[in-house]
Amino acid sequence: MPAGDTTRSTVASMNQELSAAGGGLAGNEDVLRSVLAGCGDCIKILDLDGRLQFMSEGGKRVMEVEDFGKLKGCPWPDFWTGDGNSDAKRAVEMAKAGSTGRFRGPANTAKGNPRYWDVQVSPIVGIGGKPTHLLSISRDITEEWRATSELKEAAGRQALLAGELQHRIKNTLAMVGAIANQTMQGESVSAAREAFSARLMTLSHAHDILTQTSWTSAPIKDVVEGALTPYRSGRGRIQVSGSNLDLLPKQALALSLAVHELATNGTKYGSLSADGTVDIEWSNEPTETGNGFRFTWTESGGPSVKEPTRKGFGSRLIEKMLANDFGGEVRTFYHPGGVVVELVAPMVRRPQTQVSDL
């Protein structure tokens, strides 16, 4: 059946249905007018060259058109830019050839407000079965489109976060593996187990602090206090003083492990094994040598100490890892009154905000 015949038989059945719905509806032009005014879609009639001839009342509303006279006769595809322009031209060609062209794309209203549209262009078939005009219906799907693109963005962010998390987990696993390997060397099983658990707890606490800043930095006080927590309740007194500074993640991990090892040694053999004290101090002032950051661990009032003959993993964490991750030097002095450990390194960052100083 030719396209024109289809349209005529559709009209006939529509009139039948309208008559059945109520008297005076079939063939009533007011019905058409109400539809065109009430419909929230932008309904347009174009000529076969795609020039704008008519726009519905509802369409002028959603397109924010105040004076249609200015638009009449303009090529409709030119209201679209980029891909939308070629999509609109293609849709016009398809409708001219007797089928329906569809596309989705962005276009501004007459007042320049951005909207996203779902568009279909179909032929208006006249007597003889040939298209005489084209019908273009654009539906505003801005809300839906926004929601979809926000979802896509959220999914992208989620994937990025998952990747970052995966990266961090792998790094942490590698670190735990190294600590496990090194802790299990030459110690009895029960001693190794205890040392390993304590080191893991220290690492875990440093992670907690870093998580609060999304792994950008860690306040030095929190790092030191976190590592000291298990040793606060024992004999001896620990005093901590120093200005507020932000450590890099690497520095935070190294310092917490080092402080943990120092406190363990102090509790086993040093001033914390008796009623002695530990003074932890740091400062961060410009110096001529460039090593403006100074961190000291000073034990006093404990049993006399001697330099150990064999240095294990704990000593390496204190002397090597700390020096490496701060880019500085660590020196240990075995004074008769107690151990003194000193780190000198390039200055570390001051915190961005001073709120917590108050």
């Binding site: 590698a174 593996g177 890892m321």
Partner: protein, 128 residues
């Protein structure tokens, strides 16, 4: 009895790893496996060492080293180009590479690795 030159000394492995803790662990692990070890904290330092020493048998390198002019993969290619006899072991916690992705005479092992795997991988490469 004559002992050949190659058997008389321990094989020398250059460990390249930017993370201090992991480097220390790798160095001690490879020493434990019976090798002599040198270490470098990045690819640039590794190249400097390779330019000065002529006795390195194996380069053992991490791949993910963001700080420096090249990562471990580029280092592996540089070593293959400039020092063809040196064997290469690459490792990564993030990537999973196949030996085919690497220059000839190289092997990939994933992190974390065991002493046994490191030992076997290095020995297998040396015997090739």
């Amino acid at each position: 009895m004559m002992i050949s030159e190659t058997n008389r000394r321990k094989k020398l492995v250059l460990v390249v790893e930017d993370d201090f803790l992991l480097r220390m662990d790798a160095v001690l692990m490879i020493e434990e496996a019976g090798f002599d070890v040198l270490e470098a904290a990045n690819a640039d330092d590794a190249i400097m060492i390779l330019e000065r020493r002529f006795d390195i048998d194996v380069v053992f390198t991490d791949i993910d080293m963001p700080n420096g002019s090249m990562n471990g993969l580029r280092l592996a290619h540089a070593v293959r180009d400039r020092w063809p006899p040196i064997k290469i072991v690459t490792t990564s916690g993030q990537l999973r590479l196949k030996d085919e992705d690497l220059p000839h005479g190289s092997k990939f092992i994933p992190k974390p690795y065991s002493v046994k795997l490191v030992n076997e991988t290095i020995r297998e490469l040396i015997q090739q």
